[in-house]
C-alpha cells in the first residue's frame, strides 16, 4: 500500500516542480523579448530626443547632411506611405472581401490563399528587385515615388488581404443570413452590414501594414529613394528622400555626421510608427468594447 502511495506523491511533487520551472522559463522568455524591445526603444529615445527640435523637423539638411533638419525626408516618407495606401487599400480590401465572401471553397481558392501567405514571406529585397525590373525598367516609370509605392504595394498587399479576410471572418454568419433574408443582395449585405462591422479590424490591420511599409529600406533603395535632394518631390514620378534610407545613408555613407542627427532621424521614424500603431490598437479596442457579439 505504501509503495504506490509514495509513488503517487513523488509524481505529484515532480509535476509541481515542472510547473514551477516552466512558469519561470516562459516568463523569462517574455521578459527577454520585452527587455530587448525596451532597450532599443530606450536607446533611441535617450540618444535621439536631444536632437529633436522644430528646426530639425521643419528644415532641410545642410552641410552635406551634417547639419540642418530632415523635413524633406519626413515629407518623402509621408508621401510614399500615402501613395502606397491609396494603391494598396482598395486592391487589398477588395481581394480580401472576395476571398472571405464570394470565393468558392475549392482547390483553386486554397492555392490562391497559399500563394498570398507565401507572398508575405518573400524577402523585401526581392520585392525591390522585382519593382526595379518591372516598374522602373519594364514599365519605364523610372526611379520615382510611384515606382516605390507600387513596389511597397506588392509588399503590403498580402498583409492587407489577410487582415481584411480575418476581420470579415470574425463577423457572425448570422448577420449575413439576416441581411440576405431581408432581400438584400450579397453586395448589399457586405457593404451595409458586414464591412462596417469589420471596419475596425480592417483599418487597424491596414495601418499596421502601412507603418511597416514606412520602415522598409531595401525595396525603395533600388526603386526611387534619393541620397539627397535639394527640394521636395513635385510629382509622383520624382525621386524622393525617405526616413529609413536617409538613416542608412547617415549611418554608413556620410562620415562625421553628428550623432544627434542620426539618432534624431531614427527617433522620428520609430516614434512616428509607434504612435500610429498605438493609436490604431487603442482605437480598435475601443471599438471592440462598443460592439459585442
Amino acid at each position: 500500500m505504501t509503495a504506490p502511495m509514495s509513488n503517487r506523491t513523488g509524481r505529484a511533487r515532480r509535476a509541481r516542480v515542472v510547473e514551477g520551472v516552466m512558469k519561470v522559463v516562459t516568463g523569462a522568455c517574455v521578459a527577454m523579448v520585452i527587455g530587448a524591445a525596451l532597450f532599443v526603444l530606450g536607446k533611441i529615445i535617450v540618444a535621439g530626443l536631444p536632437g529633436i527640435s522644430l528646426e530639425f523637423l521643419f528644415s532641410k539638411p545642410g552641410m552635406g547632411m551634417r547639419a540642418g533638419g530632415i523635413f524633406p525626408v519626413i515629407m518623402g516618407t509621408l508621401m510614399l506611405v500615402t501613395l502606397t495606401g491609396v494603391l494598396v487599400l482598395p486592391l487589398g480590401v477588395m481581394a480580401g472581401i472576395y476571398l472571405s465572401e464570394y470565393a468558392p471553397k475549392n482547390l483553386m481558392t486554397r492555392i490562391v490563399r497559399l500563394s498570398i501567405a507565401n507572398m508575405a514571406g518573400v524577402p523585401s529585397i526581392v520585392y525591390g528587385l522585382f519593382g526595379l525590373a518591372v516598374f522602373v525598367l519594364l514599365m519605364q516609370i523610372g526611379k520615382s515615388l510611384l515606382a516605390s509605392a507600387l513596389t511597397l504595394t506588392c509588399l503590403t498587399l498580402p498583409v492587407i488581404i489577410t487582415t481584411t479576410e480575418e476581420a470579415l471572418r470574425q463577423i457572425p454568419a448570422d448577420l449575413r443570413q439576416a441581411a440576405l433574408a431581408l432581400g438584400a443582395t450579397r453586395w448589399r449585405a457586405i457593404s451595409k452590414v458586414v464591412l462596417p462591422a469589420a471596419a475596425p479590424g480592417i483599418v487597424t490591420g491596414s495601418i499596421l501594414g502601412l507603418s511597416r511599409a514606412a520602415g522598409e529600406t531595401a525595396p525603395i533603395l533600388v526603386t526611387g529613394a534619393a541620397f539627397f535632394l535639394p527640394k521636395l518631390p513635385d510629382s509622383v514620378t520624382s525621386q524622393y528622400m525617405s526616413l529609413p534610407y536617409h538613416l542608412y545613408v547617415l549611418a554608413t555613407q556620410v562620415p562625421n555626421v553628428p550623432p544627434e542627427i542620426t539618432w534624431g532621424t531614427a527617433f522620428v521614424l520609430v516614434v512616428g510608427v509607434s504612435i500610429v500603431s498605438m493609436f490604431a490598437a487603442a482605437w480598435r479596442s475601443a471599438q471592440r468594447k462598443k460592439v459585442k457579439w
Partner: protein, 286 residues
Amino acid sequence: MSAVLEKAVMDVPFGSLEQVRSSASSVEAVSGSFALVDVSVAYGSEMVIEGVNMLVPSRAVTALIGPSGCGKSTLLRCLNRMNDEIGGVRVGGTITLDGLDIYQKGVDPVDLRTRVGQVFQRPNPFPMSIYDNVAFGPRTQGLRKREELDEIIESSLRDAALWEEVKNHLKKHAFELSGGQQQRLCIARALATKPEVLLMDEPASALDPISTQQIEDTIAELKNLVTIVIVTHNMQQAARISDQTAFMLRESMDQPAHLVEVGDTKRMFTNPEDKRTESYITGRFG
C-alpha cells in the same frame, strides 16, 4: 399552375381534404400560401428530406415539429431559398407561393425573400441603431423618404409589440436591448419588408420564459397580417400557437426524413392518425 395545385391537393396524404381544397381554391384571393409537392432536399449526394406534400394556408400558423436533425429547419429554408446560400444543396419537387413556382427559372431569390421573411433562432440584430435595423429592408428596396420610413418603422415595431418599449430610444444601439427585445426587433425588421409569409426557426429557443410568452403573443397577433411557418422543439408551444401542425421524422440516418402527418393542430394533438406522431407528442421519443 392549377394543375400543380390540383396535384398537391390530390397528393396531400393527411389532414382534411376539405380544408386543403378550400385553401387551394382561395389561393387567388388571399396571398401568402405555399403548396409543396413531392419536395425533396439533398446535401451533395445525401438525400435528407424526401416526398413532402403539404399546403401552408394563408394567414394561419403552421408549426413544423419533430426530433432534432429531422430536417425541419432545412425544409423551412427551402421556402425562402436560403438553402441556395449553402453550396451543394439541391431541392427537388415543386414549391409554389400563390401559384408561382419559386424554383423556376426567372425567379430571383432576392425578390422572393422580400415576400418571404425569416426570423432566426438566435436574435441577430445588425450592429446599428434600432431605427436603422428596422429600416434596412425598406431601404434595400429603395425607400428613402423620411416620413414613409418613420411610418413603416413605427407600424412594424407596433406589430412586433416592441413600439412602446423603444419609441423614445430609436437611435439607441440595438445591442443595448435584452435578448427578448432583440428578437422582437428582428421580427419588426422582417415585417418592415411587408412580407406575405414569415418563417420562424425556433424563434424563442434562446429566450427566457417571459420573453418566450411575449413572442408567442406576438405571433398570435401577427397571423392576421402574414402567413407564419414556425419550427419549434417545444410541443406545448406548437399546440398553443399553431393552427396546422406538420410532424417530420427521420427514422434512421440511412434514410431521408419525411413528413409523417400534417393536419389541424387540435386534431393532431388530441387524435393523431399515426402511431409515431402519438409517441412523439406524448414524449415517448425525440
